[in-house]
């Protein structure tokens, strides 16, 4: 299953207003480490299909959201719950790190 992309325009609807916790992958096309973490994020999306939503956002095309959440380094992974940012992971981390971070927010 492929992870959907969100934009400056759809962020509120897809992420903030979502009932499930949302994992947001901030990436950019020219970012090598983003490409390394992308398959990890896809795997997480598959494995956590029923408990979280996973989306990706291209920071090049969506500077407003990137600026709003203070993205300084990419990739940056953020977890949102009930419209609030609850955690941030900076850099291309292994799946185990991402999974253990996510587990903290899943009921």
């Amino acid at each position: 299953m492929s992870v959907s992309q969100v934009t400056d325009a759809s962020f509120k609807q897809e992420v903030i207003n979502n009932d499930l916790p949302v994992l947001v992958d901030f990436w950019a096309p020219w970012c090598g480490p983003c490409r390394m973490v992308s398959p990890v994020v896809d795997e997480i999306a598959e494995e956590y299909e029923s408990s979280i939503k996973v989306v990706k956002i291209n920071t090049d095309d969506n500077p407003t959201i990137a600026a709003e959440y203070g993205i300084r380094s990419i990739p940056t992974l953020m977890i949102f719950k009930a419209g609030e940012r609850v955690d941030t992971v900076i850099g291309a981390v292994p799946k185990s790190t991402l999974a253990s971070t996510l587990n903290k927010y899943i009921s």
């Binding site: 090598g32 990739p75 291309a92």
Partner: protein, 382 residues
């Protein structure tokens, strides 16, 4: 600079790309019985460490010679994605075969697909250390797994040093890396964004001089920013740079900040290191020429390096100070440093590998590690 977090030290589930290599077991914290012992990995003919044009060309040639090479492309080794320096470049217009150019990552994707197609096993793991004290050589990853091979091809490249300057990074609203900030004038200087614009080069060595002179063909002016009072470039290069009407030098200076309009670099703030005074000047291209760092620390001194850390190879060859270890690409080349020269060097390494293996007279076992089964008339262990 993208900041990857240090990878977790716990081994974790990993799959490999390429056929044949086993999936690592996941370590469960609450598992009481030990997992069944992993069958010992067979000794490979060759392990290739690296992921750029040198590594992949070596892999393609070695694979076609039926060596079934094992390649460690790294998991963000040296903070750079697999594919190497090309993954930090946008357009590659000078690699032969691609009129019109293509992006760096596209080119590395193609190298990788070709290696796999030819018969290479690739692990997305970073090599932490090598043991060349006995044969076969042993390669240990940062997850603690060890693999053995009769020969090694080191193609770990060199990373252009970048300075941590506010605004010269990769993400956020004011981040102009690849939008005016670059570490390779040869690669990027001809881009339209720099044409007839004021440019700057940070550095004081020959590379900085060369880059400044190269950029002077395209920009309206080039300011060499050097932190010392004197350039360390060769006299010839210094003279040439100083003589060029478009080039000026800011001594005892440093770039404090890169600023722009949100899309592209527009100015830099230069600090006078003697007085502390800061002054902003228009600048649409900022280039780092502060040296390269060859990725050789993991070798622990077992292979002879030159004074700058580059692997020493016999001139015209990829042979190193250790028989059976070959070095290709930027890790042993501080002069040319192009994708195509690295590729050529990778080919040489694979061909020298053949010569070496012929001398050794060893063949890689197909499935099992070397078994104790005797050769009889009825059966020959494969």
């Amino acid at each position: 600079m993208v900041d990857p977090e240090a990878p977790s030290t716990a081994p974790e589930t990993a799959t490999t790309n390429g056929s044949g290599a086993p999936t690592m077991p996941t370590v469960e914290l609450d598992a009481s019985p030990l997992p069944p012992p992993t069958p010992p990995t067979p000794v490979r003919d060759v392990i290739i460490i690296g992921s750029g044009p040198a590594a992949h060309t070596a892999a393609i040639y070695a694979a076609r010679a039926e060596r079934r090479p094992l390649m460690f492309e790294g998991m963000l080794a040296a903070g750079v994605a697999a594919g190497g320096q090309l993954t930090t470049t946008t357009e590659v217009e000078n690699f032969p075969g691609f009129p019109g150019g293509l992006s760096g990552p596209e080119l590395t994707d193609r190298f990788r697909a070709h290696s796999i197609d030819a018969g290479t096993d690739i692990l997305t793991e970073t090599v932490a250390s090598v043991d060349a004290s006995s044969r076969p050589f042993k390669v240990t990853t940062e997850w603690g797994t060890t693999h053995a091979a009769h020969a090694l091809i080191i193609a770990t490249g060199a990373t252009a040093r970048r300075l941590e300057i506010p605004g010269a990074g990769e993400a956020g609203p004011e981040a102009y890396w690849q939008r005016g900030v670059s570490a390779c004038a040869v690669c990027d200087g001809a881009a339209p964004v720099f044409r007839n614009k004021p440019l700057a080069v940070i550095g004081g060595g020959d590379t900085a001089m060369e880059e400044a002179l190269f950029l002077a063909k395209y920009g309206s002016s080039v300011t060499i920013v050097h932190r010392r009072d004197e350039l360390r470039a060769s006299k010839v290069m210094q003279r040439r740079a100083l003589a060029h009407p478009k080039v000026r030098i800011a001594y005892s200076a440093a770039v404090d900040q890169a600023k722009g309009d949100g899309k592209l670099l527009q100015s830099v703030v230069l600090k006078d290191l003697k007085t502390g005074a800061a002054a902003e000047q228009p600048c649409n291209g900022l280039f780092f020429a502060v040296g390269h760092v060859p990725n050789t620390a993991f070798l622990g001194g077992q292979v002879k390096l030159d004074a700058d850390g580059y692997i020493l190879t016999t001139p015209g060859s990829t042979r190193t100070s250790v028989d059976g270890i070959f070095a290709a690409g930027d890790v042993q080349d501080k002069q040319w440093r192009q994708a195509v020269t690295a590729a050529g060097s990778g080919c040489m390494a694979a061909m020298e590998l053949e010569h070496y293996m012929a001398q050794l007279g060893e063949r890689q076992p197909q499935e099992e590690p070397a078994s104790a089964e005797p050769v009889t008339a009825e059966s020959v262990p494969v």
